[in-house]
Symmetry: C2
Subunit: 206 residues, 2 copies
């Protein structure tokens, strides 16, 4: 189970499986099959079996997967069997929505600080958080050993903020700004881009 | 080139290729290789070649892909060689951000209407849009033959809104609410879920 050996494309599907399994678990369902899971997530049963088998033997022929067991293993593999501190950089509409979002807990994440550079916003409260000055971001990020940031600043500010975050020790950036970030190879970036999702659907429309 | 034959998982990667290619084009770059594209999007060159070859012969051995040609073909395949009307349902933080987002144009989409059920919000302006009453949503959606909606209402309201949209003829829903929607098989749903993106990155963190 070497991190280098599993293609990132498979890693990218595991959170989708985990989400589906956790939703089944919430409904009190204890077992599932690759067929059922496939229906939910829109991925073929064969692909799901292949992906999951990369990490060991999980299902039994004929009895399917134990949901609690598979959830635990996926949480372990994805390292969300712990709680990661996450900061938000940019307190516009998206930053506000993320600061108030209650979908992080139980999935491995907690927001710990939120930042903006607008003097009118600094010091204001958003939910439980006081908006902090981005001028103090690097220092506070380093001090608290934060590894993950969500970047919700305008496109023009995103690259500079990303560089500050990387210098401060951030290793994973969830980027909402509509630009590609240049970061060192040891830093991960994921993009939230509604258009790619829309384009994936228009393929099927008439 | 039959829609039924290409796995959805490949379709899902095409918008990511398209975005990367359009960003290269903006920088004036005319050709690229599967290697270069792979570096940008984090997918192996072999996978990219395989995906793209599903739709015909594009690259030439040794000379790479013509970016303008590949952009045009991908736009054509994904049916974003036209402009689709999109409505926003739910004018909270995310709805506001989407209504003001300028990343839809040139990528195949335009927001045409925005809705909320809050009497305090109805009639207010967000950017160029007047917030309309969700009570009129079904009628206006049908009338204008809208096929695509972005759903940004609270989780508790999402299923009901989705059902209204489907009845009104919507065939593709981009769901920001943290629940799974039950929709007929001929309706596509995509989920925007920051947690799945975060979990894809924690796998690589220490």
């Amino acid at each position: 189970m070497n991190a280098e050996r599993i293609p990132d494309i498979i890693i990218g599907r595991l959170p989708v499986y985990l989400r589906a399994l956790q939703r089944l678990a919430v409904r009190g369902i204890q077992t599932t099959s690759s067929q059922e899971l496939g229906e939910i997530v829109g991925i073929s049963a064969a692909q799901i079996r292949k992906d999951i088998s990369q990490f060991g033997e999980f299902g039994k022929q004929g009895t399917g997967y134990s949901i609690p067991f598979l959830v635990e293993r996926l949480q372990d593999i994805l390292k969300v069997d712990r709680v990661w501190d996450v900061i938000i950089v940019g307190m516009g509409d998206i930053g506000h929505a993320l600061a108030r979002y209650n979908g992080f807990t139980n999935r491995g994440f907690q927001i710990t600080m939120v930042f903006d550079n607008d003097p009118k916003k600094i010091g204001q409260k958003v939910g439980d958080f006081e908006i902090l000055d981005t001028a103090t971001m690097a220092e506070k990020t380093k001090q608290n050993k934060v590894k993950i940031a969500m970047l919700t600043v305008p496109a023009t500010a995103a690259q500079e903020m990303a560089e500050q975050l990387v210098k401060a020790g951030v290793k994973a950036i969830l980027n909402y700004a509509p630009i590609s970030l240049n970061v060192p190879r040891n830093v991960r970036v994921q993009y939230i881009d509604p258009v790619t999702h829309l384009q994936r659907m228009t393929y099927y429309l008439d």
